[in-house]
């Protein structure tokens, strides 16, 4: 990595966007990068949308606030509505097609629409939709190695939850595959 990269991840509360961002930041740290993870926190305890900003950089990070991120991961429609315009030109927009309900309008960004929730349900738990999306993001950006994400997961999860690691790994892989093979510019 030779220059700073910023991602905003957004979705419903409960979709795991916060931990997806933390895993990415943690993995970046493990690979020796400078990282920041910044949540936006609101009044609602449940429901509503949540988002976080992750920055990875080879150098000291100044502002943790980013007006125009290099990438956005939008896990549902309100997130897509809110952040679509913010992605930098030539940036990346990863969309959870299962819950977005519409296609990407911008044409000056690279858009990747994947049925993350559907895939997650398919492999057994809709809670890992975040990992599917993260896999897709990593496949395209190569921000960090998937191994580092798995290592982060191992550190983040308490030992009695380590049984969940294979499921998460699976989801990550499915996301990567989708990104590799899937329709990078969906037709509609």
């Amino acid at each position: 990595m030779d220059k700073q990269y910023e991602v905003i991840m957004a979705g419903f509360g409960g979709q795991g966007v916060m931990s997806m961002g933390q895993l990415l930041a943690y993995a970046g740290m493990l690979e020796g990068l400078q990282v920041t993870w910044m949540p936006s926190y609101g009044p609602e305890q449940r429901g509503g949308t949540a988002n976080c900003t992750v920055i990875l950089s080879p150098r000291t990070i100044g502002s943790p606030v980013v007006e125009r991120p290099a990438a956005v991961v939008a896990m549902n429609l309100p997130s897509l509505d809110k952040f679509e315009d913010r992605v930098r030109e030539e940036g990346l927009l990863v969309v959870n097609a299962t819950l977005a309900g519409r296609s990407v309008r911008r044409t000056d960004v690279r858009a990747l629409s994947i049925p993350a929730t559907a895939i997650a349900e398919e492999i057994g738990n809709d809670r890992v939709a975040n990992m599917v999306a993260l896999g897709a993001l990593l496949e395209i950006t190569r921000l960090v190695r998937p191994d580092s994400v798995v290592e982060s997961l191992t550190k983040a999860l308490p030992p009695h939850r380590h049984n969940l690691i294979p499921l998460n790994q699976d989801a990550l892989r499915r996301g990567m595959e989708l990104a590799r093979h899937g329709a990078r510019r969906p037709a509609c």
Partner: protein, 258 residues
């Protein structure tokens, strides 16, 4: 067909920010129904606390004041003293009323302040993310009693109604859980009596409502209802604690009415 049940006047159309299954919403409805019934909507002033119900000022269709954390009884006192012919109520959570606002509630009660307080006891700090409240039960896990509340470390849960029962100046005092339609009916009656106490100028009235916080408790809304019934109700017995001002000559009242 006629409408048998609909959203009462007295509530705005604004959807609440409460979590799914949070019974704050039920409490709001009961208050609105009673105020409509008593015909005092146009001269009611409500005081919202700091807590999950902070936005109550958006939900009630009355003149509303947002008070600082714990001080709703003092704010309500200021309003009532300025406008003695208006109906004034404060809506407070257990952190708000029983922790930071303990002095204010006891003294409003002791002054016999002619206001009505609706007290939502959900055994936790909902708004700030599930920290321990004074009413958190022994053994209960919260984000600041992560090993479960234990008396030697975190002290004992406070029973607000029992405490206020000792305070002369209290004219109406009751506690009910918001767990099932019949209980909710009793709660509604108590709320009506409380407001009637105020309208009759008899002094301080308070209704404690045992309420759920599925989010703070880490339960589904249905589990939360059962937890109120099985764990809260035994420690916080429902009933009417006082109905009518105490005999001015007498000592503290000892009888439980309901």
């Amino acid at each position: 067909m006629r409408v048998a049940f609909e959203r009462p006047a007295g509530l705005t159309d604004c959807p609440t920010h409460y979590c799914p299954g949070c019974t704050h919403g039920i409490a709001h409805r009961l208050i609105a129904e009673v105020i409509t019934e008593l015909g005092v909507a146009d001269r009611t002033i409500g005081v919202a606390p700091v807590g999950c119900s902070v936005l109550a000022y958006d939900y009630f269709d009355y003149d509303m004041i947002q008070a600082s954390h714990g001080r709703a009884p003092a704010v309500a006192t200021g309003v009532k003293r300025a406008l003695p012919d208006r109906t004034v109520f404060a809506y407070q959570g257990d952190g708000d009323l029983a922790s930071i606002g303990m002095a204010e509630i006891i003294h409003a009660a002791a002054r016999g302040e002619n206001i009505t307080v609706i007290f939502i006891n959900n055994a936790i700090y909902g708004m700030t993310g599930g920290q321990m409240a004074p009413t958190t039960l022994l053994g209960q896990l919260t984000t600041t009693s992560p090993a479960g509340r234990e008396a030697p470390r975190e002290g004992y849960p406070l029973r607000v109604a029992e405490l206020l029962e000792q305070v002369r100046g209290v004219a109406y005092l009751a506690r009910y859980p918001l767990t099932k339609p019949p209980e909710i009916g009793r709660a509604r009656n108590a709320i009506r009596k409380a407001f009637q106490t105020q309208l009759a100028g008899k002094g301080f009235s308070l209704v404690e409502l045992l309420s759920t916080c599925p989010t703070g408790w880490g339960m589904t809304p249905r589990e939360a209802l059962r937890w109120v019934e099985e764990v809260m109700v035994p420690y916080y017995p429902p009933g009417e604690f006082r109905d009518g001002p105490e005999d001015p000559g007498g000592g503290p009242s000892r009888k439980r009415v309901g």
